[in-house]
Symmetry: C2
Subunit: 135 residues, 2 copies
């Protein structure tokens, strides 16, 4: 296979909720994670970059025709990044919102820290205080 043309990044990262928890899940991203809604009400810009987080109702997305149907059952994992000086503030914010921190690890790379928690749809979220992946 010849060299692939460049992919300049991941534009859309997607998480899923269901009709039963959609309102609570959308409120969680808006109010707890503080991610501003973009125009159509179901996408969020994350950070100063152009990352887009989409939240789909999997009960609906699996029934659509075009774009193609998608929508899994069960928890998807996404990791957000923050800065070391904001890491403890994020832990407090999640705990103060009544959300349990399910795990915390010190990663294998440079002692970076991250903690895990669930969104109301059951997705497994992580906030890391740096990029633990090799360049």
């Amino acid at each position: 296979v010849s060299d692939a043309p460049p992919l300049t990044g991941i534009l859309e990262t997607v998480l899923y909720c269901t009709s039963a928890n959609e309102d609570a899940t959308r409120a969680f991203y808006r109010d707890v994670l503080g991610l501003p809604l973009t125009g159509d009400g179901f996408s969020h810009r994350v950070g100063g970059r152009r990352d887009v987080l989409l939240l789909f109702n999997a009960d609906e997305a699996i029934k659509q025709d075009n774009p193609p149907p998608h929508g899994p059952t069960g928890p998807v994992h996404v990791c957000f990044q923050t800065t070391p000086d904001n890491y403890d503030a994020w832990k407090r914010r999640i705990t103060d919102a009544g959300v349990a921190i399910t795990s915390e690890i010190t990663t294998w790379r440079d002692g970076l820290r991250s903690f895990y928690f669930d969104d109301p749809a059951g997705n497994v979220l992580e906030i890391a205080d740096g990029d633990m992946w090799p360049p």
Copy 2:
């Protein structure tokens, strides 16, 4: 709720395969999408940015204890971004690899284009020639 501390971006975007299609799925990301493996063999850097794409075997990830278990059943959606001048080359590359293009759309924003195709695990991938989301 007080103002949220900054999230500087999405560090890890995750897709899932199963034991039945794991080898084919990993080969697809490496050989067709041309995403270079990072150290541990299951993560890919995308573009010149620090985006990380992880591919988990959902059959295994749902059984782990720490980090917390995750692993959905069914197709997850992720959109990659390329540049307008590389868009047609990507369509050719996907078709030449024997992968069907399932849909193509012109988005509501600035006439940007994107097309859809499946990975061997059934995830619904998209490559867009620009960022159609409002800033």
